[in-house]
Each structure stands twice: as C-alpha cells, then as structure tokens.
C-alpha cells in the first residue's frame, strides 16, 4: 500500500518536473530576447529539475542516496540564481538592447519627427 502511494507520488512529481523542463526548452526556442529567454531558463532550472529530483527522492525512500539527491537539489537552487544574475549582468554590460515591439518603425518615426522640427516642414 505504502509502495503504491510513494510510486504514484513519484510519477506525479516527475511528470510535473518534465513539463517544466519542456516549458524552459520552448521558452528558450521561442522568446525574442536574451532577458526573456533567461527568465524561461531559470524557471526551468528551479521548478523543473527541483520537482523531478523531489520525485526521485520520494521514489528512493530512506537511504544514503537521498542525501546526494538533496545535495544536488540545493546546489541547483543556489547555482541557478548565480547563473541568472551573471548572464544578465554580462548582457547588460555588453549593451544588448531589450526587445521592443516594432522597433524599426518607432526609430523611423522619431527620425521623421526630428527632420520636421529642424526644417520646419
């Protein structure tokens, strides 16, 4: 009985974790900008891998391997934060501009406005 409950909980947690890992993959493929892609990738780290590892911990039961899994989870929790911050800071320092909707059209409109102001057309 206990076996059935722990196995079904493990399957549930693993499925949710795999869902979030795929959310990260689709976000990195589809989103337009490095900052928004970073948002998707760090979600995938914490939620996806964390939930999958929690499911495996439930499946394992009580043994020495749970300690290693817990260690990997804590390492992922802290390293994901540091990685997100470092990549965002590097993107900021090398002047990557954030994505805007219709960026070229807005630039053209601004140039036109400036032209009219200068030459009084």
């Amino acid at each position: 009985m206990f076996d059935v409950i722990s196995n079904s909980l493990a399957v549930l947690f693993l499925s949710v974790g795999v869902f979030f890992l795929w959310v990260g993959v689709i976000g990195v493929i589809r989103l337009p900008d490095i900052y928004s892609r970073l948002h998707a990738a760090t979600k995938c780290d914490i939620l996806g891998a964390g939930l999958a590892l929690i499911g495996l911990m439930i499946y394992e039961g009580l043994s020495f391997n749970v300690l290693k899994l817990l260690l990997v989870t804590l390492l992922l929790l802290s390293s994901s934060l540091v990685v997100g911050h470092v990549i965002a800071r590097a993107a900021r320092r090398i002047d990557l501009v954030p994505w805007q909707e219709n960026r070229e059209e807005k630039l053209l409109l601004e140039k036109e406005k400036l032209f009219r102001e200068i030459f009084k057309v």
């Binding site: 399957v11 890992l21 990195v28 990738a41 499946y59 260690l71 540091v82 993107a91 320092r93």
Partner: protein, 87 residues
C-alpha cells in the same frame, strides 16, 4: 518503474536536441552560454534517471560533479565575455 524512467529520459533528450538545433541560428554568444546552462540541467536529470535505470550508485556522484562543473564553466564564460567588452 524502469520503463517510465526510460520514457522520461527519452522525452528530455528530445528537448536537448531541439535546443541544440535551434541555437545555431542565434548570432549572440550569450545565448549559447544560456543554452549550455539549459542542456546542463537536462543532462543532470537524465544522468540521475540513468543511475536509477541501471541500478548504479556511481552515476549519482557523476551527476553531482557535473552540476558543479557546469556551474563553474558558465560563471567563467559569462565573466570572460563581460570583461572582453563589446564585440
């Protein structure tokens, strides 16, 4: 439970290949660092699943070392790109 683990790792492997083929079109180098992070996380989960599929406890230690190494590699790459400046 072993067939379920095999199916889960195949699904994760499909995600890894999808990111790997879609990152070739990006011109920016920081995207590649980001994808290294994503693939590292997926490979970590796949390694732990492999250790449960094949009943080998040593793969867990490999996964722990892999997490540490990919973390350090990404931090070093990002700091290097940041210090190199605009390109």
């Amino acid at each position: 439970m072993s067939p379920f683990f095999i199916g889960v790792s195949i699904i994760l492997m499909m995600g890894v290949f999808a990111t790997l083929f879609c990152v070739f079109r990006r011109p920016n180098i920081l995207d590649k660092v980001l994808v290294v992070n994503l693939i590292g996380t997926n490979a970590l989960v796949i390694l732990i699943l492999i250790s449960y599929i094949s009943n080998r406890g040593a793969c867990l230690d490999v996964a722990l070392a892999y997490a540490l190494l990919s973390f350090i590699a990404i931090v070093v790459f990002a700091r290097y790109i940041e210090s190199r400046g605009k390109f």
